[in-house]
């Protein structure tokens, strides 16, 4: 026992003098002269094969195509629902939700700003395909392909309508979220969309406890409020909204004539059906025009203000980057403001890098956040301004219509429309006869 202690102390002394944490070859590997012992090599179990990743992209393409067909041609809520369940099982529970189109935004942004980062082909497909489909067919991705939408849609039992002003105000969060996610991804700080994704943890049934609690809360809310994540949080939804405004073909409640029965309006749990408008009252004419002029002038001011505010927050926002956090910690330690050390500061000292270089790196990153803040804040300002303008513009609408941006193409209104109900029934009968 005594002898062993001495060995330890001796070894410890001699080796701590050598220093270094990475461990050099202090003891030469043996040759095994007495026995013919063969030195084994470590096992290297491989990751999921690439072929499966390609398969995912093919399934995505097929699901998007099928979803477009079901929404625009077949017009059957039941079929859309079935596809939605399939997507939830495949993209959600089977693939464990990663990588998804929503999170792929960040990979694309990082690849634009980071020269060394290359996007795998499947990630590029996951990002681009739903957007291209939105340009042609509207939000068919949201309808039945996105597993995050599907899980919320499945639990939606008692939809409560959200007033228009509240809906628009809450949606502001999605714009801020998108702007922040792009800023953090562009600076290489973090992928916040993935970090705070509420449903991926649910698909895996494991993960950060806080996220699982948020996930459970959001699912409970989803019972009463239709797809809260899609409407108020989803950053990818922001992109799909804008592209779906321009889409070549889109959801129509019925191809027949609208009889203004208002049934479809009740059927939509997402408040996406627009009412017919009355004529523009002539008394309002001058006042609205003035208001519009003021709002258009206000747009650049709003953009500037939001950009300024967001850029001014760079000391706070840049703390999302690990290097900035480390530099701040090292600064505190160097100036003697804190006594203890952290794992990160110890690791930094192990590298032998000068604190000055680290400070410089951190200040460069802060400057990037300052510049990026102008753009991300400006984007939020632009979206607020455009919304205010859109509210003030008088649109002429004679029938009930699915909103171009807000419609998630879930197909609930088809069945509620009495004209459509009759049309589909007739169609079925003629199909049955022939």
């Amino acid at each position: 026992m005594m002898r062993f202690d001495n060995i330890i102390i001796g070894m410890a002394l001699s080796l701590t003098l050598c220093g270094g944490i990475s461990g050099a070859e202090r003891f030469p590997p043996p040759d095994f002269v007495e026995t013919d012992h063969v030195i084994p090599s470590p096992t290297v179990p491989g990751p999921r094969q690439d072929i499966y990743e390609y398969l995912d992209a093919v399934v995505l393409l097929a699901a998007l195509g099928l979803s477009s067909y079901l929404v625009l041609r077949k017009r059957s809520r039941r079929a859309i629902f079935a596809l939605m369940v399939f997507s939830l099982l495949y993209f959600g529970f089977w693939r464990k939700g990663c990588v998804c189109s929503v999170g792929a935004i960040q990979n694309i942004v990082l690849s634009i700003f980071d020269r060394d980062y290359a996007v795998p082909i499947t990630v590029a497909m996951f990002f681009l395909l739903p957007l291209v489909f939105a340009l042609f067919f509207g939000r068919v991705f949201c309808a039945a392909v996105c597993p995050l939408g599907a899980v919320q849609d499945l639990v939606l039992l008692r939809a409560v309508s959200v007033p228009n002003w509240l809906e628009s105000a809450l949606r502001l969060f999605a714009y801020v979220y998108l702007a922040a996610a792009v800023l953090f991804a562009a600076t290489g700080s973090a992928f916040v969309i993935c970090r705070y994704d509420p449903f991926v943890a649910f698909f895996r049934l494991s993960g950060n406890l806080n996220i699982l609690i948020i996930s459970a809360c959001l699912l409970v809310i989803s019972v009463f409020i239709g797809r809260p994540y899609c409407r108020f949080i989803c950053p990818y939804g922001v992109l799909l909204r804008q592209l779906s405004r321009l889409s070549k073909w889109r959801v129509t409640i019925t191809p027949d004539e609208c009889i203004q029965c208002r049934l479809c309006e009740d059927s939509c749990p997402f408040g996406a059906i627009r009412k017919p408008t009355t004529d523009w009252p002539t008394t309002e004419y001058v006042r609205s025009k003035k208001r519009l002029a003021v709002l258009i002038l206000l747009l650049p001011v709003l953009m500037f203000l939001c950009g300024w505010a967001s850029s001014g927050l760079k000391t706070v926002t840049s703390r999302m980057h690990a290097t900035v956090r480390l530099a701040e910690r090292i600064y505190l330690e160097e100036t003697g403001k804190v006594e203890d050390t952290t794992d990160a500061s110890l690791a930094f000292r192990g590298t032998g890098q000068e604190p000055k270089e680290l400070y410089e790196e951190a200040s460069n990153i802060r400057a990037e956040f300052g510049l990026g803040g102008w753009f991300s804040g400006g984007f939020v300002g632009l979206m607020i301004g455009l919304k205010l303008i859109a509210v003030s513009v008088w649109r002429k609408r004679t029938d009930y219509e699915a909103g171009r941006a807000g419609c998630l193409a879930c197909g609930r209104c088809f069945k509620y429309c009495p004209k459509e109900h009759a049309r589909l029934k007739k169609l079925k009968e003629t199909m049955g006869k022939s």
Binding site: I21, G23, F27, P29, T35, P47, P120, L135, F191, K248
Partner: protein
């Protein structure tokens, strides 16, 4: 719908079609840009063993209940020491395989006698929780033959690895999926 707008081009239609074309061209341009730097193979997460400080975050921050990070033993680097600091705790009662003498909290390392004075240490991966205690021991006093690696039969390959986000030495990297391990080899300083 298309033919109607062609016969009767209004300002609204013209603007809309213009925006539509612009968006499509934008997406096409983005696709073109991505093709320029596209990677055929997927990327996976891996730990650079020379940057890792074996802080223990891997055991606790993984989204999996049982971490995807495990200890790997590069046998070719190992000195086959009799007194292994990755195996024995700092104050062992006796130099034998008794649980009270072991450093590994889950008893995942077994040692077998090869020839005097050499012992071989093998890791039972089903018991290892990736805490890195043995890695620290071996790095500080030995050859550093024990190191942590993301095991790809377990890793879910999250888009943002939550261990990478918590790693104090930024040792996590994205590596191509056809070369998913960064193993230590003999002769590397």
């Amino acid at each position: 719908m298309m033919s109607e707008s062609k016969n009767n081009i209004t300002r609204r239609h013209f603007l809309k079609d213009g925006f539509w074309g612009g968006c499509l061209a934008g997406l096409g341009g983005l696709a073109g840009f991505l093709v320029g730097k596209l990677k055929k193979t997927n990327t996976v997460w891996q730990i650079d063993p020379y940057t890792c400080i074996a802080c223990g975050n891997c055991a606790t921050y993984c989204v999996l209940e049982e971490s995807a990070v495990k200890c790997v033993h590069a046998f070719a680097v190992c000195g086959y020491c009799k007194i292994c600091f990755g195996f024995f705790g700092p104050e062992p009662v006796e130099i034998n395989e008794g649980a009270e003498n072991q450093l590994c909290p889950s008893g995942a390392i077994t040692r077998t006698f090869v020839e005097e004075p050499y012992y071989e240490y093998t890791i039972d991966e089903s018991l290892c929780n990736g805490c890195g205690k043995c890695v620290k021991g071996c790095n500080t006093f030995g050859n550093g033959a024990l190191f942590l690696q993301v095991r790809h039969d377990r890793c879910l390959n999250c888009n943002e690895c939550s261990i990478a986000a918590a790693c104090p030495s930024q040792a996590f990297k994205r590596v191509p999926a056809d070369e998913p391990y960064l193993l230590k080899e003999a002769g590397h300083s």
